[in-house]
């Protein structure tokens, strides 16, 4: 599965837009890009998934350029409750398994 690289940490203030970029230079043709969020003392939670271009849901947007070697998770107008670790995962469904491979994640701290 493709290796991902993302910033270890980011700081922001309430009301700002936060963009977290993930690099995945070795992404394969059938790989999807998925982001998870994890709050302290909780398990990871699925945020968004995409293959190419732009995906938007009620929580975030995911921007994927044409070469798919990177992706950007965009959180509009963050609040204190968005303080969490955000994981970028890249992988494809296979017949045998769909295990998730987590990297180190980006620790986002939102200040008042």
């Amino acid at each position: 599965l493709a290796k991902t690289t993302q910033p270890i940490s980011m700081d922001s203030y309430e009301g700002q837009e936060v963009n977290i970029t993930c690099s995945h230079n070795n992404i394969a043709t059938n790989d999807y890009i998925t982001w998870y969020q994890q709050f302290p003392s909780q398990g990871p939670r699925f945020i968004i998934q995409g293959y190419k271009t732009k995906v938007t849901n009620e929580v975030a947007s995911l921007f994927i350029p044409a070469d798919r070697k990177s992706s950007t998770l965009s959180l509009p107008r963050v609040s204190l409750s968005d303080t969490a670790v955000y994981y970028c995962l890249v992988g494809a469904l296979t017949y045998n398994t769909d295990k998730l491979i987590f990297g180190t994640g980006t620790r986002l701290q939102v200040f008042p």
Partner: protein
Amino acid sequence: EAGVTQFPSHSVIEKGQTVTLRCDPISGHDNLYWYRRVMGKEIKFLLHFVKESKQDESGMPNNRFLAERTGGTYSTLKVQPAELEDSGVYFCASSQDRNNEQFFGPGTRLTVL
């Protein structure tokens, strides 16, 4: 709809003892996964059940770990005998379809002294 639940939330045992962790997936989810994060490391996949069958157990660290899912509902993960390096947080997740949206439980924090 109830989410994935795990029991216990915390467990403190001594080296050499046995511990059994339990996971109740979301009702109707055929896919059940176990993951763990040991101190300072990343979350790592342990194994994947489809109903009662082990689909992928490539992440199980050694034969001290035994996972079961009899009847295809809840699952248990037994560590026997526990070692110091087994300390960490054990997560269970479930999914209905084979996609990348897995629903995680809150985890069980295991401390081996």
